[in-house]
Every structure is written in C-alpha cells, then in structure tokens.
C-alpha cells in the first residue's frame, strides 16, 4: 500500500492529504457545534452578563438593563445566601458520607460472579431508570403522615411529619438521594473491583490475611481512583440537585432544604429577580469547578500512575 511511496516524499504527501481531508471533514462538526454554542456556550456567557443586569423574566429582552454590581451586592449581603450554601454543603456532606460506604459495599457484593447476584442486580438498577420527579413523588406519598405507610401500618414510629420538620426533612432527602444514586455508584465500583487482579487476593490468602484485612489492605487502596471519580460525581452532582428537592419539599419546611439550586430557581422564576438568580447560577458554576479541581488535587497529580505495583 503506502510503502510504494518513497520515504522522502511521503511526509509532504500525507500532510497535503491530511489538510485537504480536514477541510472536507470540518463541516461535519458544524451542526453539533451550532447547537452546542447556541444552547450551552452562549447561555453560559449570558448568565454572567445577566448577573450584572436587571430583568423581571416576564418583559422582553429590551427591558433588560445594566445595573452593574447591584445584583451581586444584594445576593452577597443577603443572609439567605450563607444559609443556602450551608444547606447545600450539608446535603452534599451527608449524602456523600452515606452513599460512599454503601456503594462500595454493594459494589463488592455485586462484583461477585454468583448467578443470584447477577439476578439481584436486575432489581438494584431499577432506581436508575426512574425520574427524580417520580422517586420524589413516591416517597412523598409513602411518607405522608395522613395517607402514607405509617398510618396504614398503625405504626407511630413510621408516622412522623417526615417532610415537615427541619432535621427529618434533611434526613429523608439524603435517604431518597441515596436510594436513587447508590445503584449508579455501586455500578462504578463493581467495574473497578472486577479489575483488581485475582493474584493479589491469592497472595493475601497465602499470607494468611483475613477477609477484613484483605478488604482494607487490597480492595480499598486499589479503589482509590474510583473513590475519587465517584466522589467527584457525587459532590459536583449534589450541587445541582433540583427536581428531587423541589418535588419533595419545595425547599421547606421554611427554608430548611433551600439549597443554592433551589434558591436560584425561587429567586428567578418565583420572585422574578433574574439578576440575583443569575448571580447565584454563576456561583453554582464556580463552586462546581472549584470542587472538581480540589478533588482532583486530593487524588494526587498523577492519576495515571500504576496501581498495579508488585503484580
């Protein structure tokens, strides 16, 4: 094939062919690029611009006026902001702390090759298919103090005002979020655990390591980068939880579950203050990027380093 061409002329020839080919290929990306620019990139830039403007969200574009730092000033001095950040961080921390061990343990379980575990996985993954709205609606009905499962079973313990008291509401929210997302993260862990070489476990067995020791000395260290990936997805994902909180509590009781994403929606689309709402949206993007970079740092700079030393 190409060996017919003498080596000297080959380089130039191929470069010419490549650039001609690139030109003919370039237009193939244009439809995707146009959509991406129009509905993702431009909005990202526009939300920054809007955070310096006043707009009520009802009148058309000509009513938008530049007000400089007004929105930022009102948002940053509003005591509701530290509260919303606190709620966001609380939900983030609690759901991370609950989901991570649960996902690792379930991941270990379904990484097993037993046939019944494969069958159980069929059920495990069902929550991944349901919309956040459907899940929140189900739990709202299930936990209702009048029509839910508590009064149905005549159980006082289960008949609580689950979504009507601050701490209970946050607890329920963390549980529902975990119910939805633990399957996804255990799926990630399952894949990673199956990659761990069996020889490591055999060596540990020969050395007389017990089951717990094996888990803490081999499985967990081998999962280091998976833990970081999964935690990044959990932490950054929890910033933008909207449907599940909105349907479950609408930010209530009072403002107990009003996280940043809800704060943005309520300010923008309920109070018609698009300027301050945009400022919060900008904060959301910045916090998300910051957390992602921070977690990457924690994971060490060289994520490609071998985890297989000594194998």
């Amino acid at each position: 094939m190409s060996t017919v061409i003498p080596p000297a002329t080959r380089g130039r020839r191929e470069r010419g062919v490549t650039s001609a080919r690139n030109a003919s290929l370039a237009w193939l990306v244009l439809p995707a690029l146009a959509f991406f620019v129009a509905f993702a990139l431009v909005p990202l830039l526009a939300v920054v611009v809007l955070s310096f403007c006043r707009w009520n969200g009802i009148s058309d574009i000509s009513s938008i006026s530049w007000v400089g730092l007004d929105s930022w000033h009102s948002v940053l001095t509003d005591p509701a902001l530290p509260h919303a950040i606190g709620v966001t961080l609380l939900i983030m921390a609690l759901s991370w702390a609950f989901q991570t061990p649960a996902s690792i343990l379930v991941g270990v379980f379904i990484a097993g090759r037993q046939r019944y575990r494969a069958l159980l996985s069929v059920i495990y993954f069902i929550p991944l298919l349901l919309s956040s709205a459907a899940i929140a609606i189900t739990y709202k009905a299930l936990l209702d103090p009048n029509f839910g499962i508590g009064p149905g079973l005549h159980s006082d313990l289960l008949t609580q005002n689950w979504l009507g008291e601050d701490n209970l509401a946050v607890g329920v929210l963390v549980f529902v979020v975990s119910w939805q997302f633990v399957p996804f993260h255990s799926l990630i862990y399952q894949g990673a655990i199956r990659q761990i070489p069996a020889s490591m476990y055999e060596a540990a067995e020969i050395d007389g390591a017990g089951r717990l020791r094996t888990f803490f000395s081999i499985t967990l260290p081998q999962l280091k980068y998976t833990v970081i990936t999964s935690s990044t997805l959990m932490v950054v994902g929890s910033l933008t939880f909207f449907d599940i909180i909105w349907v479950l509590t609408e930010g209530g009781p009072a403002d107990a579950t009003r996280s940043l994403a809800l704060d943005m929606y309520i300010r923008g689309f309920r109070a018609n203050l698009m300027g301050p709402a945009s400022a919060i949206a900008v904060l959301l993007v910045l916090v998300g990027l910051g957390l992602a970079l921070l977690l990457r740092r924690l994971g060490g700079t060289d994520a490609t380093a071998s985890q297989m030393e000594g194998v």
Partner: protein, 297 residues
C-alpha cells in the same frame, strides 16, 4: 475482514468473564458485603413493591388495609383514572420530545465524533473537541435563565420545540466523547482501504464507521433517551399550558391535585416509567452500560 474488527471500547464495563475463577474476588465469604447487599436490596425493593401493589388497590379500600399486603380485589380503576386525566397526551408529548431530541443529537454527535477522530491533528477540530470536553462541566441548572430568555426571543416559549433544542445541546458533549472513543478503536487500515477504494469521507462515515459504531450508538441513544425522558426542569421552565406538559411535570401537578388519591398517584408513577421498564427488560445490558457511559475505565 470487517468481522475481525475489535469493537471493544474502554468506555464500556468489562463483559462477564468467561472464566469466573480467574478473577474470583469473592471465593471466600464476605459477610459485610453480603449483609450490605441484602439490606440494600430490601431498601430498594420495598418501595418498588409498594408502588406496584398500591396501584392496583382501589381508592376505597386503600385506607383500611395493610399497605404491604396486596389487595384481594385488584382493580384497574386507578389506571383508568390516570388515563382520563390526560396522561395519553403527556405521554405523546414525552415521546415527541425524547425522539425529537435524541435522534438529531445522536446523529450530530456521530458526525462530529467521526470528524474529530479522522481529522486528528487539525487545529479547528482539536479546538472543537476541547470545547465539547469543557461542555461536560456545564450544568443545565446553572444556565436555565439564559435558555429561558433565548427561547422567549425565538418565540418558542410553551412549545415542545422549546424543550427539544436545549436537550439536544446538552446531550452532545458526553455523546461526542463516548462515540469518538469508540471510533478511535477502529483500525486505521480500514479507513485507509476505504479511501484507496475511492470512497469519500461521507461514504466512509456511513458505510464503515456507522455500522462499526453501533454498540456505542445504542449506548448513547439509551443514555440520552433516559435523561431527556426524565427531565423535569426544562418543561417546568419552558412551558406553561397543560397540554404542553411532559410526563415528569404532569406527574408533579397530578400529585398536587390528587394528593389524597395515593393509589392513582402510584398508577401514574408506574405508567410514566413503563416504557423504560419495558426497555430494561428487552435490553438490560445496553441500558446498564449506557448509564455508566464515559465512566467505566
């Protein structure tokens, strides 16, 4: 020749090991994992079981029977009630929005991924690829206000198209990533021989790359389909009238209206999930691999 092409991609979970003993992580008893596994199964299964049995319980008997025991007189009245409440319309809306967004999104992503892989070193295509990678970090929630403004200015507010357009844009970054990873695994010699046979890039794309990329195309189609089918925020912000609602939003307002009628709400939940559950029964493997698209390493 084409039959020997390796179509494995790093973005898919490892296929079941033909030799279970080779990587036998669990040859010894693992009490913790086992306990957690069974406990979580109960946590997952109990609400699902409750949804199903409640949806067949009549509204009259719901309050005076044990909610965890299936009713002795199963009824379809709740489903009838839900269908009468306009869910057929919402269902059709959801289908239109999902198909209308997924098909163009997947085709455009495929074309873009093909160009990015084939045009390797080109400056423009490298920049475009970088842009899509950056796009993975843009959360939809953070840019809904400008999207709302753009849709109003396009005079598309309160239409199904209003939900389709941003859905396409937000499906692109991950789809391009997954598809380009996959196309990169196609041996260069195949492209080269197509070129020597005088086939254009356009022809190569559809006749060689498209069939070879089918598993990844199925994966991104399913992933995007699920995401868009379940989207709540876009209909919430971009529609107003009842007849433009898609299922998740309709479900929410249905509960707001009939919060006392728990059996009907559960029938509605089940109905809105039915197409996905059917898909799950038919193509579980593709669905599960679609869910972790881009993460399995």
């Amino acid at each position: 020749m084409a039959t020997t092409v390796p179509t494995r991609t790093p973005s898919r979970p490892v296929p079941p090991d033909p030799l279970p003993r080779v990587r036998g992580v669990t040859r010894r008893r693992n009490w913790f994992g086992g306990l957690a596994g069974w406990a979580w199964l109960v946590v997952i299964a109990l609400p699902l079981y409750w949804i199903v049995i409640t949806s067949f319980t009549s509204q009259d008997t719901y309050f005076d029977h044990n909610p965890l025991v299936p009713t002795t007189h199963p009824t379809l009245e709740n489903y009838q009630f839900v269908l009468d409440a306009g869910f057929v319309r919402y269902f059709v809306n959801s289908v239109i929005v999902t198909v209308g967004a997924v098909v163009p999104a997947v085709l455009m992503s495929f074309m873009a991924a093909f160009a990015i892989v084939r045009g390797g070193g080109g400056r423009f295509l490298t920049a475009v690829n970088g842009l899509f990678l950056m796009g993975l970090a843009i959360p939809l929630q953070a840019v809904v206000i400008p999207i709302y403004l753009i849709i109003i200015e396009m005079h598309l507010y309160d239409s199904l198209t209003a939900m389709i357009l941003p859905s396409i844009a937000f499906a692109l970054p991950l789809s391009v990533l997954v598809l380009s990873n996959f196309i990169r695994d196609v041996p260069r010699e195949l492209f080269e021989s197509m070129r020597l046979d005088g086939c254009s890039e356009w022809g190569t794309m559809w006749r060689l790359a498209f069939p070879l990329t089918r598993p990844a195309l199925v994966t991104v189609t399913i992933y995007n389909g699920l995401t868009i089918w379940n989207n709540f925020l876009l209909p919430l912000i971009l529609t107003q009238s009842t007849e433009r609602r898609t299922l998740p939003l309709a479900l929410w307002s249905f509960q707001g209206q009939y919060s006392v009628n728990v059996p009907a709400i559960m029938a509605a939940v089940l109905l809105t999930t039915l197409p996905i559950l059917l898909l799950y029964v038919v193509g579980r493997r593709q669905l599960v691999s679609g869910l972790t698209a881009g993460f399995g390493k």
